[in-house]
Symmetry: C2
Subunit: 332 residues, 2 copies
Amino acid sequence: MHIAVDAMGGDHAPDEIVRGALLYRAEGGVAEIVLVGRDDTVRAALGTSPRPGITVVDARDVVEMHEHPSSALRRRNDTSIGIATALVKRGDADAVVSAGNTGATMAAALLTLGRIRGIDRPALCGMLPTTKGKPACLIDAGATMDAEPNNLLQYARMASRFMERVHGVDRPTVGLMNVGEESEKGGRLQQEAHALLAGSTDINFFGNIEGRDPLRGTTDIVVCDGFTGNVLAKGMEGVVDVFREGIRNDIFGGLLGKVAYGFALRGVRKLRHRLDYDEYASAPLLGVNGVSVVTHGRAGANMVRHAIGVAERSVSQGLIAVLGEQSRIGAA
Amino acid sequence: MHIAVDAMGGDHAPDEIVRGALLYRAEGGVAEIVLVGRDDTVRAALGTSPRPGITVVDARDVVEMHEHPSSALRRRNDTSIGIATALVKRGDADAVVSAGNTGATMAAALLTLGRIRGIDRPALCGMLPTTKGKPACLIDAGATMDAEPNNLLQYARMASRFMERVHGVDRPTVGLMNVGEESEKGGRLQQEAHALLAGSTDINFFGNIEGRDPLRGTTDIVVCDGFTGNVLAKGMEGVVDVFREGIRNDIFGGLLGKVAYGFALRGVRKLRHRLDYDEYASAPLLGVNGVSVVTHGRAGANMVRHAIGVAERSVSQGLIAVLGEQSRIGAA
């Protein structure tokens, strides 16, 4: 198995990306890693010792975090994400992983790999930490705008197979993001999606959930349209940032704060551990015809390592074939 | 001026609601308060001393937090929120304030007071704390599902007048909640609303903002459809809850944690103060033909007091007339 890793994408590229690949291999990862990026830069980050199982493919260009993804990809044919995705298309790699511009990773996957037959729209399946200590996934975290009820049903099915196969969750529960519990809540999209989800036998439908539920781990899967998912994920992340800064600067800033920190160290670690999601901070793009995993733009080596692990398990579990098979059953 | 307060609505009713009314008066509030609820219960909470400027109107029933709002209101005609809203309709009160079932407060306002002419759909204007130390408002926080682009323009206009008149913000900036900065981002609703907002001269349009922006105070007003607003507000609140519990139990729990707390006290207060939004934790329902202010279900006395203050300023500033006037201009 070969996994193409966009070595140039992300806030800490290439160093943390390359370190993540090395960590993945050092921890016993079975896939061979193809680092895609500027040959000289990537080799400098790799160092001079021999790196078995890691090769470099040159790509001179990169889609920056704030570029317009699809126009960048159309104009330039030697971007790291474009070349990494093309490796999957050609069969030279089995999956692609990137911490770079999410829009570019999605656009490259959609343009180069295409959709799985029977899946109308792709969806980003973002993993979230929960206070139950197990991960949940939010689908769609922003791949598709203007979703229709049937798209939400397809998201629920794809995420169910993903959570079963890749995260080993038995009969994962599916919650429909809504403004209240009752089936008639929400707008047209939610009301119609509720009926479709409730009538579907290949998912374990829990019912409607609300904005507070994803973090509580009420369900293993949170289904919503990509606009809502994107706004919700960023909104929650914004609050996390404010509290992280507040704990660091307000509570433990200053002299007394530093003393307090000494006494509170164990507790701080406990809270950090509770909300740590390095292990599953990845968002596979489901519905495209190949394994494509996005990870956080701020990803450090450990997160990159785990994202490669998610890609590896998606390949070894034959996720794409499973999704193709169920979508044919679903359409029948 | 008279303000009808639903004395039975909210997790801490009637005690904290009654205390909030007393606090409002004690701090120099000019409006007379009409407490609406079970006569005996409310009088017991009021105590035996004379309470100038506070009267009680009996209502035998209450819409509980988890009841279906409009069916409860249709079936029962002696609920505290129904009677409080009817006082406004009859002119016996100038505004209604409730910490109870938000859906019931909205349904009562819409059924009893009706809409302002020229406003197609009402919107809940939820106040948020920001790290800039000033409040922002999120409109619509959940009053209307399936909003159309023109509704979002009306929300932006109503919130602009509200922030100018009631919160004294000069030329408040308006951000459109979206998944990216560029004008072509989002779905049909956001793209069309962006064009309407950009072409409107009676608002100070900033452009698109993202899920992290409301808490950062990027704009004074955050405009979105009620489904997104409700999910975002609850999602952010869920994260706040997790951190509050984490700080209390993980960081400062246990023996060492308690020692740490002693040293960190000043910092904890600083963080708490930064995120304290008692002062503006109210959500006026804009677009209905009367002043109706919702506050948090968990509201304590201080929050109730400030919500009454928001209602008072809305009345004294002639907010309903201002909204009616601008909607006639907007429609012209």
